[in-house]
């Protein structure tokens, strides 16, 4: 074990103190500030701590599926008996990543971790990756997300490209079905493993969305698709210059929808996942490929997933009275389209609350709502649709253009109370990022309230914004 310098020790100490105080003062869960403090004291802290990880560092990047893929990696490694360090949901910028490392340091300045599984925001990747020196970088997909932060999708692509080129030794575990990532592979020298799906698993509502990357980056010709999964994901080739989807090393085959979720086989191993969203097949496959690339045999992989909850606290189910409420996060067009497809596939009548905010972490620009094809919501059998959040009128206006009636509500607690008291008893709540925490909180309170006979008022907690 390497000894670390006094400066790093001081940084770790102050970082930990910050975390303690944040928790004590009930100012959130302290996901990023400790990292900021530690970095101000020792700018090299991340390099020092990442050097102490025993066996390997895995990084997950991409527009959608980062958190889930990272959690699968973590679970699978733990099932192998490894000690794993993981960063908290959403804390994927530089400060968040540093926090995760700092808080994992034990007494005496020792970091006991065999593996680190770190999800990294695309924008922060150029800064973070060289400091981490990962063994494997998982790339899930690239689609439009928070254009006010990222500029345009091409800029996201360039950012990711320069990030992975800065760590030429890291093995890339790449979704070969994503044309963007196909280009990336062609432009990078890194070692690589490719995963992909060659069967049709996504329905028309999932597919329907603006095609992100219809043209070949190398010759400008329109890409030809033999099969489209969704967005720009599918089996593509360029008729102009011969560029084509790379052959996957790991292929999900015999994908089947089952009672409880999906099952598929990879390398002859059957894997079952307990989720109704088919895109989690991609996330699972991504994790499998990444683990294989760092020399894990994958024998315990299927077993490790058996108990995994794919919700990541982002998606939860609440029972309030006789109503079942499902909370879902959708923060970009691709994600939202997938949720609509899922809602449509539920044949029971349902009520809907769409909660749209435009805080900095959501993306200030909500134009993307118009890139989502809401016509499928008309066929979804929704009885009442409420819109909430700072941009509830924009959401309502978007629905108006599909001929869907909705009602804007200022107070979502009241709206949820109404929906759960009288309604279909099958409620879907779709929120974007900043709405997640308050929505979760309100639903938990309503659940308590209902249990306590409707008299329980949790005033002391309602100040959380």
């Amino acid at each position: 074990m390497k000894k670390i310098g006094w400066r790093s020790r001081l940084a770790i100490c102050c970082g930990k103190l910050t975390s303690t105080w944040i928790r004590r003062l009930h100012r959130g869960n302290g996901g990023t500030l400790p990292g900021y403090v530690a970095r101000r004291i020792d700018p090299g802290i991340l390099t020092v701590l990442s050097g102490m990880v025993g066996e390997g560092i895995l990084v997950v990047m991409g527009t959608n599926g980062k958190t889930t893929t990272n959690r699968i990696l973590c679970e699978a490694l733990r099932a192998e008996g490894k000690k794993v360090l993981i960063n908290e949901t959403g804390a994927n910028m530089l400060n968040g990543v540093i926090s995760a490392f700092v808080l994992a340091v034990e007494k005496g300045g020792i970091l006991k971790a065999d593996y680190a599984c770190i999800e990294v925001d695309e924008n922060a990747s150029v800064e973070i990756l060289p400091k981490l020196g990962p063994d494997c970088v998982v790339l899930t997909n690239i689609s439009r997300d928070q254009l006010d932060r990222f500029g345009e999708v091409d800029l996201t692509y360039e950012t990711i490209k320069s990030a992975v080129q800065s760590v030429p030794g890291a093995c890339l575990a790449v979704n070969g079905d994503d044309a963007f990532l196909g280009f990336l592979l062609a432009e990078c020298e890194n070692p690589r493993v490719v995963y992909g799906i060659e069967e049709e698993v996504f329905d028309v509502a999932a597919r329907s969305e603006v095609l992100e990357n219809a043209f070949c980056r190398f010759c400008g010709a329109r890409l030809h698709y033999d099969l489209v999964h969704y967005g720009q994901l599918g089996l593509y080739r360029c008729p102009g210059c011969g560029f084509a989807r790379p052959r996957p090393d790991y292929r999900a085959e015999d994908i089947a929808r089952e009672e409880e979720g999906y099952s598929f086989t990879v390398e002859g191993r059957t894997v079952g996942i307990r989720t109704v969203s088919p895109y989690h097949v991609y996330n699972t496959l991504a994790a499998y490929g990444a683990l294989r690339s760092v020399g894990i045999s994958g024998e315990r992989f299927a077993k490790a997933l058996g108990s995994l909850d794919f919700g990541n606290n982002r998606e939860g189910t609440f029972t309030i009275g006789r109503a079942r409420v499902q909370l879902h996060l959708a923060k970009n067009p691709m994600g939202f389209q997938q949720k609509l497809s899922m809602i449509r596939s539920d044949s029971k009548p349902k009520d809907l609350l769409l909660f749209i905010n435009d805080r900095a972490q959501d993306g200030r620009d909500i134009s993307w709502l118009w890139d989502v094809d809401f016509q499928y919501l008309k066929e979804a059998g929704s009885v009442q649709i409420f819109t909430g959040g700072a941009r509830r009128y924009d959401m309502g206006l978007r629905l108006k253009y599909e001929g869907i009636e909705s009602q804007a509500v200022a107070d979502i607690r009241e709206a949820l109370r109404r929906l759960t008291n009288k309604g279909t008893g099958n409620v879907y709540v779709v929120v974007n990022y900043s709405g997640l925490y308050p929505a979760n909180h309100i639903l938990e309170e309503l659940m308590e309230e209902e249990k306590g006979g409707g008299h329980f008022e949790a005033d002391h907690r309602s100040s959380v914004s």
């Binding site: 400060n95 439009r144 006010d148 620009d365 134009s367 009128y393 309502g396 108006k400």
Partner: protein
């Protein structure tokens, strides 16, 4: 009675919900019993401006924009005479830049179509945020979202609106967009038309006048949600406290 809306190169220029503008033009005609047809022209397809009453040119990434410029070179003369003849055009962001004389990036100069008396220079600081305009085309303030690295200089041309909040063409000029004949060039996404129905109706009225003659004033529609969505943004940026909080929030490190 029917209007035809031409959506130029949606496969190349499809950033930021341009579909919303198309849907708005179409529905607001249909809600008044006027037929509307949308014709998307993918890159490489031939198009005849004689068939079109409204043309929408959206925004794209720089790479895609260059591909478009190459394509548009072929129809430049037709496009130019369509505009000179009073043809209605809404050009948003990238489309606005393309219609100007040129777009100078850090490395090179991309020639534009030279239809609008404007030119654009790229600067490293992107101008991003909600924007509110006072436009002579609309009684209600015009609200939208801007996100551009280019600074567009319009010289003596008539701007689309005066900036009440936000950056506009160059950040310092105090004006946004450009109106030339029946063309509106603007940086406003959001998308522009659904939340600013008066602008949509203005474009439609000019297109109807050009096609059917006479003076057109379209029947008013009960735009309740439209007004709420618009007013909600205006009120927000009238609140100094909010503006201050948003500004400060931008500079916090966490």
């Amino acid at each position: 009675m029917k209007l035809t809306i031409g959506h130029l190169y949606p496969d190349l220029l499809n950033l930021y919900g341009d579909q919303g503008n198309i849907k708005c033009l179409m529905r607001r005609l249909q809600w008044r019993g006027i037929e509307a047809e949308v014709k998307p022209f993918l890159s490489g397809e031939s198009l005849d401006f004689a068939d079109l009453d409204v043309v929408l040119l959206g925004g794209g990434s720089d790479r895609e924009q260059e591909l478009v410029c190459r394509q548009l070179g072929e129809i430049r003369r037709d496009f130019g005479s369509y505009v000179e003849d009073g043809g209605v055009v809404l050009a948003v962001c990238g489309g606005y830049q393309i219609l100007g004389d040129y777009y100078r990036t850090a490395e090179k100069e991309i020639p534009g179509l030279g239809i609008l008396p404007a030119y654009t220079k790229w600067e490293p600081r992107r101008l991003v945020g909600n924007i509110i305009l006072d436009s002579p085309l609309s009684l209600a303030p015009v609200v939208g979202f801007e996100n551009h690295g280019g600074r567009t200089y319009i010289g003596e041309g008539a701007p689309f609106g005066r900036v009440l909040f936000g950056y506009g063409n160059t950040r310092t000029s105090g004006y946004e967009g450009l109106r030339y004949k029946n063309v509106i060039g603007t940086y406003l996404h959001g998308p522009l038309l659904p939340k600013n129905p008066e602008i949509c109706d203005y474009l439609l009225e000019r297109a109807l006048e050009r096609k059917f003659g006479g003076v057109w004033k379209l029947r008013r529609l009960p735009d309740r949600l439209e007004r709420q969505a618009n007013a909600c943004m205006v009120e927000r940026y009238c609140d100094r406290g909010y503006v201050w909080r948003e500004r400060v929030g931008r500079y916090l490190p966490f």
